[in-house]
């Protein structure tokens, strides 16, 4: 047996996936920022990374795209992130300022204070900001 085979079965030495946080600060239909952010998140998750998405400032408007559309819909990408168990958080103050509540946003998006963002930034290996 080669050295290290035992370690592979030891949960304490199991390698944790790297963490990517994506910060989106622009709303839908102004640019491709939302599409790029959500597609990057999905691909990163598919590739085995742990992914957090934080909707900030006008980025919170993306959570409001609850309806179906017969054209490109960043809301559909967002729903897909939720289905893939990517944690999506929307800034509480930014949401309140735009009258976005848990009743009028996509189910599964969590409204939380920006301290959550600080936790994400602290824990992440990489952070990407889209919409700047």
């Amino acid at each position: 047996m080669e050295t290290g085979d035992d370690d592979m079965n030891n949960p304490e030495t199991e390698k944790q996936p790297k963490i990517l946080t994506i910060l989106l600060i622009k709303g839908p239909y102004v640019s491709e920022a939302a599409d790029i952010a959500f597609q990057t998140a999905l691909k990163a998750k598919q590739m085995g990374y742990k992914v957090h998405v934080f909707l900030y400032l006008d980025g919170t408007w993306n959570s409001h795209l609850t309806g179906d559309k017969n054209y490109n819909n960043p809301g559909d990408w967002l729903k897909r992130l939720i289905r893939k168990e990517i944690q999506v958080t929307s800034c509480e103050r930014c949401s309140n300022a735009r009258d976005l509540t848990e009743e009028n946003i996509i189910k599964g998006v969590q409204i939380s204070g920006s301290t959550k963002l600080i936790d994400y930034l602290k824990d992440s290996d990489k952070v990407l900001t889209f919409g700047g």
Binding site: L20, K43, M47, F130, G132
Partner: protein, 120 residues
């Protein structure tokens, strides 16, 4: 290779066209300074950022980009967005890497090859 195992010191993602935001050209200037200080740099151009690589543009960004390529910067461009913009692969600067799987390549660069990353 950086001390902590990354291939490239500094990566830049550009999503805007050269004249859409001065930050794109600012990134090129920053990359020049980084290279002149012994750092390695890479770029990933996606969305309207692909316009940076089109030949024969009359703007200052293209000369900066050519210079960066000569100095060893690794520039990758999204094929999907080149196609969307109608830019043929024969109409882009030489020395550019074309990504057929842009999101896969982008994530791999960000997570495994670039030590630090900036986006616009």
């Amino acid at each position: 290779m950086t001390k902590d195992g990354y291939e490239i010191d500094l990566g830049f993602i550009i999503t805007k066209a050269p004249l859409e935001s001065s930050l794109g050209e600012g990134f090129l200037s920053l990359a020049h300074h980084a290279i002149n200080n012994g750092k390695t740099v890479g770029f990933f151009l996606i969305s309207d950022g692909v316009w940076f690589v089109k030949k024969n543009q009359k703007n200052t960004a293209i000369n900066k980009l050519k210079n960066l390529i000569e100095k060893g910067a690794i520039i990758t461009v999204s094929k999907d967005n080149l196609d969307a913009a109608g830019i043929e692969t024969t109409d882009i600067l030489e020395g550019i890497t074309i990504s057929e799987k842009p999101y896969q390549d982008l994530v791999a660069l960000v997570m495994e090859k670039w030590r630090r990353v900036m986006t616009i």
